[in-house]
Amino acid sequence: MSSEYVLETKDLSLSYGDNQVVNNVSVGFKEKAVTALIGPSGCGKSTLLRTFNRMNDFIDVFSHSGEVLFRGKDIYNSPLDVTDFRRNVGMVFQKPNPFSSSIKKNITWGPKINGYQGDFDELVETSLKKASLWNEVKDKLNSSGLDLSGGQQQRLCIARAIAMDPSVILMDEPCSALDPQSTAAIEKLITELQENYTIIIVTHNMQQAARISEDTAFMYEGDLVEVGETSQLFSSPEHKLTQDYIGGRFG
């Protein structure tokens, strides 16, 4: 591996039809670290995140130029199978979206269709443990995932992603639909997961970014304004825009 980054973009521009929403972004994400993407709504941070596992493929008018490299290989121009690639890059959505089947099946479904050869019961247990959900649900693995509380559902979705043994986990404002207590639980979980996974998290909440991330990237109107160590970026931002945003002057 030539680069210190698991995932990086080179000169990446993203558009919906004629409307370019991300402009020439080049950024890298370090292995086993949490990187936060912050910026006002509409700045393109979610679109950028969704490019990392090619979820934008589902939008007809989406197009891109530039490169997205996963371990040095361009994910848009390589023989790599897109579904296989998505197995390596897990995703947690804004709104918890467990399947309407049992907790157990929520976890095993992904591995099953991807030909997982190991023991499924063991996989369920380790995944739920890693997502700090095991103790709460171990006695009701066969009840529906939809019967859990919002925060638990979100942790189930994290467990579901972990079960795929990904190297990167993308999180798209995972706490925005949750109450403060559940948010705290998820934040704690993220810091734990950081030991094993590369996490990229989009967030609206600057305190959250400051609390959990190692690096932070600030985007504004499709441009990557500034990226760097979180403590550095929050204490002495280089750009006026970053300063204003962090200072709460807009956004």
Binding site: F58, F99, I113
Partner: protein, 314 residues
Amino acid sequence: MSQASSPTVPVVASKNQKNRGGETLENPKFIPNHSGRRMREYAFRAVIVSATLAALFILIVLTVNVFKQGLPWLDQQFLTSFPSRFPERAGIKSAIWGSVWLGGFTLLFSVFFGVGAALYLEELAPKNRINRILEVNISTLAGVPSIIYGMLGLTLFVRIMAFERSVLAGGLTLSLLIMPVIIIATREALKCVPDDIRLGAAALGATKWQAVRDHVLPAAMPGVLTGIILAMARAVGEAAPLIMIGALSYVAFVPESAFDAFTALPIQIFNWTSRPKEEFHALAAAGIIVLLGFLLVCNSIAILLRLKWKDHRR
């Protein structure tokens, strides 16, 4: 109508009239004619309420007439006999079994092709021009008169494929007839499944078909089933296409294979109704009760499914 609400505002306000101190809402520039307008409001309500009541009245008259005429004839003998020239010996056995056979074949073909087509168009097909043309094509097919499907069935299944005037040809014809209905209902049900589910599955490395098979289709199932049942109810009541492909009205046997000739409930009812003799009309009414019973069962299942669906989705 009531005294309390009758207007205090003069119907005609002349310009010379003095405004009484400004505490009322009168304004000489406006002549609102409240009482006249209120009358018209009541007349309007009377008209639309009577339109609704008339429709319900028709439904009641129809049901009462059918039951009054048909119920005395609806007995064991009627249900277990074959048709006959003599009203008192005539029965509906062959028609019931014919309808059951037809229903079976129709269900088989129309569900497979209808749900399959809907899954393709809604979930798998690229959303391009061809897809839109197919969409228009299907809604156009849904509006083609049923007798035209009969002409297609007559030419294609009875003659070209040489299935003759068999229950198989009838089932295939009815399948083509209700396929657009099933496709449209299934697509509507699939559209109601939130996109989260598809994206969640895709993020786990699922292919489109895997996501559809394991999550999207199960979530849409109640809606799909409701559509299928309503379409089947339509198929069971259809007579015109069956007359086209040559369903017989005098059949003194129960079909035993796909290639047997057949009659069906609506055909038998049509035949009895078209005879001048009063007794046969009564037989037709008895047949209608059986047919409506069939449909009632179908619709109750559909309603139950719909209720269950509502609960489920909260």
